[in-house]
């Protein structure tokens, strides 16, 4: 009512000072919003890169495989497991994989390789495998002794599309596995480190080579959305009814990656804290100046019967009004910037490599968090910063305040 009216008009009195305070809070709001949107955006983007393009959100393995991978720890009836997965809510696709290691030779050159058996159709649906083929083509749908090489590996072996590659490995039955394949394409997965050893075979070819018919080491599952993956994993676990097969979320099977991402998010909290501090100092400074300047006025208000609490509220309200204006304007600014950056992204001055994937451009994301967290922070900061000056105003001794000439 009355307090509000006075506070509202007071806040437009010192135009320059109010503008400055509003700009400080607006800047703080927008910066906080952009930094959260950026952090969340990068987080989502990096996770998406890893999950959607490589690992999947959830993986199924034979119990113990993650701790100590072995050729013999296999998931045996993936052909019945797979369709069962599709009945679980939010599951979008799944892809079986077989892993082993061996030696590959092209002409004179040889190199140790990681053999990855993939189902081309499923792998494309699940992790966009076809998009990673940068030269040549992907597998024929039927197994036909074809191989795709990681770009780094192709370089090491000086191999080109059309060459033949000999692979030597060990079969699950203990025999020497040994076969000849034609290189039909090169793969750039985004994981440059992995590409130096990756050799892809059609799943059926790989099973034959390693004597693991109908068996796989891993089923990668992609899910709709990144939230509450635990619940999906638990639902999968109950659906498949196989205690020896374990469903793990990316947070579990890519633990170190997850920890690194979390650490990165802590960084944005520190940023937020610094912003809050700057805003607090700015607000405190202007409100203190204002209160000192208006001592006489508060003295008159007190003298004619205004209660100390009313004067206190008047000061806090004035700051809150400025904070609300700042937030509204800040939201507009932040929205425009966040929207622009979510489309164009920000080119990083130096590209960084995270778990083997190189990032040279990151994007913001527009979410509710990047608005309500700064809003709560700014309002709280403004209120807290105005408490001491408000108390000073409420305690003005009218007789003294009006005497100072």
């Amino acid at each position: 009512m009355l307090t509000f009216k006075i506070a509202l008009r007071n806040s437009f009195r010192q135009k320059r000072r109010t503008t400055l305070t509003v700009l400080t809070m607006l800047g703080g709001f927008a910066l906080a919003s952009i930094s959260i949107a950026w952090s969340d955006g990068s987080y989502a983007y990096v996770i998406d890169m890893f999950t959607r393009n490589q690992m999947g959100h959830i993986q199924l393995h034979r119990a113990g495989y993650l701790d100590r991978p072995s050729l013999y720890k296999t998931v045996d009836d993936y052909k019945t497991l797979g369709p069962a997965l599709e009945t679980v809510e939010r599951v979008q696709d799944w892809a079986p994989r077989l892993y082993s290691s061996g030696l590959a030779s092209v002409g004179e050159k040889s190199s140790g390789v990681r053999i990855i058996g993939v189902d081309p159709e499923r792998e494309t649906a699940t992790t966009r495998f076809d998009k990673k083929v940068t030269e040549g083509r992907s597998f024929s749908l039927a197994p036909s002794q074809e191989a795709l090489l990681g770009t780094g590996l192709a370089k090491t072996l000086k191999a080109k599309v059309g060459d033949e590659v000999v692979i030597v490995s060990q079969g699950a039955d203990g025999s020497i596995a040994n076969d000849l394949y034609r290189i039909v394409g090169l793969v750039s997965s985004g994981d440059a480190f992995g590409d130096r050893t990756a050799l892809y075979l059609h799943l059926t070819d790989a099973q034959e080579l390693l004597v693991l018919e109908n068996r796989v080491h891993e089923i990668a599952v992609v899910v709709d959305g990144l939230d509450d993956l635990d619940e999906v994993a638990a639902a999968i676990q109950t659906t498949i009814q196989q205690p020896e097969v374990e469903a793990a979320t990316w947070q579990e099977f890519a633990r170190s990656f997850y920890v690194a991402m979390r650490a990165d998010q802590q960084g944005s909290w520190i940023m937020l804290f610094v912003i809050i501090l700057v805003v607090a100092v700015g607000v405190l400074n202007t409100v203190l100046m204002t209160v000192l300047e208006r001592r006489r006025e508060y003295g008159v208000l007190r003298a004619i019967g205004t209660g100390p609490g009313q004067v206190f509220r008047m000061v806090v309200m004035e700051v809150v009004i400025m904070a609300v204006v700042s937030m509204i304007l800040g939201s507009v600014v932040a929205y425009i910037v966040n929207y622009q950056l979510s489309i164009e992204g920000i080119a990083l001055p130096t590209a960084f490599t995270y778990g083997g994937v190189t990032f040279d451009r990151l994007y913001t994301i527009i979410n509710a968090r990047s608005f309500y967290i700064p809003a709560v922070c700014i309002i709280l900061t403004a209120v807290v910063a105005s408490l001491v000056p408000a108390q000073m105003a409420a305690r003005v001794a009218p007789a003294r305040a009006m005497r100072t000439h």
Partner: protein, 234 residues
């Protein structure tokens, strides 16, 4: 509280006020005994530093006293809490100051209305009183102006309106005419006197100006924190 006190607005007994100025004691008031009756129109005069402002401040509870006692409407000031004092000033005392009187962000009407809003008087009554009073004080047409758009004399008239609108028992004014030219000052004092005569509001004001003193019906002369003379005038 006895019936005798009913028409005594202020009773000051042996009021002493000591300030400390960087550790040195300053005696602003040295034993003031004074009674102001309902309906008086009294001027407090005296040289600069004689204690006029201090006296007005201590009798309204804006400042504490060192010794003695002050009763307002028979009530001992020293027994009132801060909140009670604040409410008492709101309901029973009107103030007019030398300068910085009005709330700069409120219009004339809102300034006059302010105390009634604090008192919770309903809108219709507030507007009726404000309208009547502004007309009576020659301020019609100024209701929506901000104080900065008024002359000094007009501002002081608004201050008078604000001081009496809530029908206080007592109006205290510390040099209300000091910032005005002599013609405007006399107009203001005449107006205060008219209100005193017509509505019976008690006025106690301080001044340096002999023309203004001449308009008072009682002259209280302070000197070095003591009452030097206290006489009635025609």
């Amino acid at each position: 509280m006895n019936a005798d006190n009913d028409h005594k607005v202020i009773i000051a007994e042996g009021v002493t006020k000591e300030y400390s100025d960087n550790g040195l004691p300053v005696m602003a008031l040295r034993g003031i005994d004074l009674t102001i009756e309902q309906g008086e129109f009294a001027a407090i005069v005296g040289p600069s530093g004689s204690g006029k402002t201090t006296f007005l401040n201590v009798v309204s509870g804006l400042d504490s006293i060192t010794e003695g006692s002050v009763r307002l409407d028979g009530k001992l000031l020293s027994t009132m809490s801060g909140r009670e004092l604040s409410d008492y000033r709101r309901d029973r005392i009107g103030f007019i100051f030398q300068a910085y009187n009005l709330i700069p962000v409120l219009t004339v009407e809102e300034n006059v209305e302010y105390i009634m809003l604090l008192q919770g008087i309903d809108k219709k009554e507030r507007h009726r009183r404000v309208r009547d009073l502004l007309a009576q004080l020659g301020l019609d047409g100024m209701a929506d102006r901000l104080p900065s758009r008024l002359s000094g004399g007009q501002q002081q008239r608004v201050a008078v309106a604000r001081a009496i609108v809530s029908r206080p028992a007592l109006v205290l004014a510390d040099e209300p005419t000091a910032n005005l030219d002599s013609k405007t000052a006399l107009d203001l004092i005449d107006m205060m006197r008219r209100l005193n005569e017509e509505s019976g509001v008690t006025f106690v004001f301080s001044t340096h100006d002999s023309m203004i003193m001449a308009r008072a019906r009682r002259l209280i002369v302070l000197k070095d924190g003591r009452i030097d003379r206290d006489e009635a005038q025609a």
